[in-house]
Each structure stands twice: as C-alpha cells, then as structure tokens.
Symmetry: C2
Subunit: 367 residues, 2 copies
C-alpha cells in the first residue's frame, strides 16, 4: 500500500480498515485454534489473501459518502469529531471491513473460475492448497482438494463480511443484499459470455455495470450515504450519476491494464483476459472495426493456450483497429462525466476533494 | 415430501417454507429476466436444487423451538393465533427459508468438493453445467465451467439465505453467524481429514459435531428460541443438551445409510463416503477392533476408484468388527439421551410431542 499514486484520502481509510480486518482474523484464529488447531488453517489462508494487498477502494468510497451525508446535517446534527459521530466512525470502519472481506471472498472464488495462479502477487488459495496435498502425499486429486479448500475459505470470508455488516439497519442492509446479488449474477454473465463467445458491446457493458460500476462504486457510495440517516431518492440518484460512469472508467482501465500493463505491478499475467475470452469493451470496439484478416486474429480470443506472441498479435490488432485508443477516449469521457456529476453533489469541500482524488486515481492508475 | 415416515409436525412447516422459497425465487427470476434473460439461468439452477426435495429439518427444529419459547410467555404474553404471533409466524417462516437456502448453498458447494453427480436424485449443478458447455460447443473446459457455475449458484443461495434472515435482531443474528462459521470450518475439517487419512474417532466426532449436531439441530433450535425474546442461558443450554446427542445420532444414521442404504431413496451412490475417505465414527470403531487382515481391507478407504465389490468387502469388515452394530447401539443410546433432555425442556405438550416425533424421525429414517 506504500504507493505514491494512492490518494491520502484513501490511505487513511485503508489503514483503519486493515487494522479492523487484522483484529477480526486474529480473534477468530485464537478462538478456533483452541477448538482444533487444524481449523485455524482455513483462517490463515483467508488472512493471507486479505493482507496481501488491495486498494480498499470500496471501503474508501463508502467512508467518504458516509462522511459527506453525515455532514449534511451540520446545522442541526452532530459535528465530525463529536462523540456520536465517533461511535458511527467505528461502525463505518466495520462496514469498510465488510466490503473488503466480501471482495476477498469474490476474488478467491473468481480465481478458481479463471484458474489464476497468482493474485496480488501471492499464490492463489486453490493453487497453494492443491500443492499442499501433493507435497504432503495426501489422498485424492490435488486440483479437487485445492479448489475445495478455496471454495470454503471464500465462503468463510463471505460469512465474516456479513458479520461485519451485522449492525446496520434495514435500509443499508437492502443495499448490501442487492450488491451481493449483482456481484454474483455479474460474474455468472461474465463467465457464461466468455464460454459462449458473446463478445458484443452490450454484454461487455452489462458485465462492467454489475461487476464494477455497481459493486465497486455505486453501491458502496449509496450504502455509506445511508448509514447516518435516510438519504432519500434524490441523493441516491446523484451518487449513481457520479459512480456509474466512474465505475465503467475503472473497468475500462482494468481491461487496458490486463493487456498492456506491467505484470510486476498487476500481480497476474498479462493477456489472461484474452485467454479466458472475457467480454471487454476493448474487444467489442475492435470487432466493430476489424478487417477480415484482423478478425481472424481476434477469433483466437478464448484459446486457453495462447502464447505471449499470440497475445501480442491480438494486442497489435486491438491497437491497429483503434480499439485501445477508443478505450482511452472513453475513459477520459467517462471521467469527465463523473466530475460533472460530482459538482452536483451537495457535500462539503473536503468530501468533494476526496471524491475527486479517488475518481482520478481509479481512472488513471497503472496497476 | 409425500413420505409416510415424515412426521406431520415437520410436513406442516415444510409446506409453508416451500411456498416462501418458491415465492422468493419467482420474484427474483421475474426481476432479473427483465434485466437480461441470461441472468435467470443462475436462478433456475438454484431453484432446481431448492425444489428437488429436502426434508426442511432445520426449518422444522427452528419453528418448533420458536413456538415453544413464545408460549412460555403464555401467562403474560400473546397467545398462539393472536395477531402479534401471526406476524411473528411470518418471520419464522422466513427464517426457515433462510435455513433452507443456506442448506442448498452448502450442498451445491459440497457436491463440487465430493464430485457428486446426483443429489436428491437430480443431476448436481456442476455436472449439469459442465455438460451444457460440452453440448453447446462452448469454449473452455467443461469441468471448470460447470464448477464455476455451481460456485456462483451456491453463493447466490448464500445471499438469499442472508436476505431471508435480514429482519431478526442482533441476538438471533449472532447465532446465525456462528452456525455459518461452524458449517464452513466443519466442512474444511471433514475434507482435510479425508485427504490426510485422519480417520480417528475424535476427528469423526468433531466433524459430526460441527457439520450436523450444531448446524442441523442445536443452532436452529437456539435461533428459533431467540426470536420471540431473550431465552436466557439456561434454556439455550437445555436445547443444547437435547440437540447435541440427537445431532450425533442423525450423523451416525446418515453414515450407516451411506453404507447400507437404498440408492433409490438416498439419491446418491452407496459407498461414496468410503471412496472419499470421509472420517466417520463407524470407520473409527472398526479401526479400534480390526485384525491385521481386516485392517488391510480398511486401508483401501479413500481410494476414489473403489468398485462396488470392494465397497462390499469394506462393509463386510465394518460388520464383522462389530462397528455397524456399535454404530446402531450408539444411535439408540444418543436418542435416549436426547429424549431425557427433552423431558427437561419447559415447553408445552404439543411442542414436546413435535420434538419427540422429529427426534425419532431423525434417528430412525431409512433415507
């Protein structure tokens, strides 16, 4: 996390959320080790993935939306720094930890589906535990065992996420349930479209909306804004108008980094999205413009055994068709749209500055 | 569910819970089909597993514990049939549906870990969706795709379970969180012990305690009793003393049925627990008594390719060592222990009758 690109408004939240995550995992490990030391292995694996990095973006968006909405009451309600808001600040950090546990759950399960061997530079749970079976000369198939452990460790993260969210009221919980349904259905659509070779623009946008715009930005904003009091439909809609284009920009940036990023920073191999045949807007842009010869190169997308040369050939076509350039233009356009929506939010200057910094970071990061 | 063995006290609850499950799934399907018809496929799969049978035991134990605890207030509080209890009855059916969604989630994920091809007589989610990829000539590996879909469909069931539990207070929610952690850690221990060949008695009992006694009986009872008002530690402890031996009896019955049951009723192949090398008390009993020759037969446990003849040889040793007989004796002893604890519960006659019928059913069922 010692990354000069990360805005201080995010670092501050991430630090507190990290401390909360550590405290929960430490307490759980102590408890379950007493019951049976073998049980703590599952918690160790969850901790390994939770503490191996992560930008804590969802916690950040949630925190600043809470702060903005709470300060709207400035005239009549409590001030930042007052005792009642300090109590609430503890709650919002718990909610931030909930988002991060949920994200680790989703990543551990995604890594099985994508058969990724590294995540945030660390060996993924299913790969590490498959190796453990082999190295320990245990019975059964390494792949099935490793994936089984990863399913359970992910499920455990899901439970801890929900435990952290436990104290919020019904209004905020509805948003929490909704975002979890969207997350799972978005991932289903992503995987299904990759298998069926549905690489059209509409599918790519639908996946980006569910998996990134709603899950990463809009819902954390709305949930945060709902924690202090009922924000009402107007504020929720304004947060949506800010978060939705920003979320799409985030996904387009992620897609581009997956093609032309630096593996050292990405923590995963470049080109894997192409091997998995993921529906991305970049590919759909290229399919719009490709010549017959270029199309035959693009038809290789989805082949699990693409070499790095073949990946480079596809990236060449994505560049030549203008798809990568169009992707970059879209990111800038969407970021501008988000900044315009930001100007319409009724929050204080400090909160708006934080959102601006988060928005630029999300759209411009190189890792 | 049209099964003459099932007590009417369970059928009555199961019917209402089934209607709630159907209503939730129908509403979700309608909503998501409008967004994108492909999304509803995930809900269809969840529905297929939710409606393919299931005894609704957890909902049953929860319901009757709620009723017993609510009627303890008979003198001062509301009567069964009164308006406030009718409102609460709607909540308790939602909670019952939560238990059943959670159970379907656990089964779908377990079936991946055990590579089971049928469940409740239906094709499992990972097998059905792996076939879909092959039959549709989609890209990628059938196994990875099928298992990926099953992970997501299970995760979706987990979310719906939480959504159904959403309205309970903090006291009941703590029990809900605890039982989900126990479920996942119990399953981890089960899988790990099977891989490592840890078939000792203590491990088998630990797994049975987590995966069955607590998850299926003790926690549903305690959660049910907590819904009306704070039951206090004495009642929670009494429910534990009833539920824990009964839960172990349930697991021992399940283990025996997995060896000598009727595949037609079981909905899964006989001997799979032996092929998976599951730690069961029966096997640990046999290991206590086995001669060197018998032990060499038992050493085959955990071989994934055991033929039905080899399974029969192992069952022969389990019989000859007296392990199956001892298992049966244990079930009877545990059932008696549960009935004694039942006599100590402060509930009305109708509730106690229901618990008695549920207990006998759980320990004596042949499917």
């Amino acid at each position: 996390m010692a990354d000069s690109q990360v805005p201080h408004q995010l670092l501050r939240v991430a630090k507190e959320v990290d401390a909360k995550l550590e405290a929960v995992l430490e307490e759980q490990r102590r408890h379950w080790t007493e019951v049976d030391p073998r049980l703590s292995e599952a918690i160790d694996e969850l901790e390994r993935m939770t503490t191996s990095g992560g930008k804590r973006l969802r916690a950040g968006f949630c925190y600043w939306a809470w702060r903005g909405a709470a300060l709207l009451d400035r005239g009549s309600g409590p001030q930042i720094g007052s005792e009642s808001l300090e109590l609430e600040e503890d709650l919002i950090i718990r909610v931030g930890a909930a988002f991060e546990f949920l994200h680790v759950f989703a990543l551990i399960h995604d890594d099985i589906m994508d058969n990724s061997s590294t995540r945030r530079g660390a060996t993924t749970v299913h790969v590490a535990n498959g190796r453990r079976l082999t190295e320990s000369n245990w019975q059964g198939e390494a792949r099935r065992y490793g994936e089984g452990v990863a399913i359970l460790v992910g499920d455990l993260g899901h439970v801890y996420a929900d435990q952290m969210i436990g104290q919020v009221d019904r209004r905020a919980r509805r948003i929490w349930d909704e975002l979890r349904i969207e997350l799972n259905l978005g991932q289903y659509l992503d995987m299904r479209a990759a298998a069926a070779g549905e690489l059209d623009h509409e599918t790519a946008r639908q996946v980006a909306t569910f998996k990134t715009a709603l899950y990463t930005i809009v819902r954390p904003l709305q949930l945060g804004a709902s924690l202090h009091h009922d924000p009402g439909p107007t504020l929720l809609a304004k947060l949506d108008r800010f978060g939705r284009p920003l979320g799409r920009a985030f996904q387009l940036r992620d897609d581009a980094l997956g093609l032309i990023g630096d593996e050292k920073w990405l923590g995963k191999p470049v080109g894997d999205d192409l091997r998995e045949g993921k529906p991305t807007e970049i590919v759909s842009f290229a399919l719009d413009e490709a010549s017959a010869a270029q199309r035959s190169v693009l038809d290789q997308i989805g082949r699990r055994d693409l070499s790095s040369t073949e990946v480079a050939d596809i990236v060449e076509v994505l560049t030549a068709t203008g798809a990568l350039g169009r992707n970059e233009e879209e990111i800038q356009r969407l970021l501008q749209e988000a900044h315009q929506a930001l100007a319409d939010l009724p929050f204080d200057e400090v909160t708006l500055d934080a959102f601006g910094a988060l928005a630029d970071y999300v759209a411009a990061r190189d890792r």
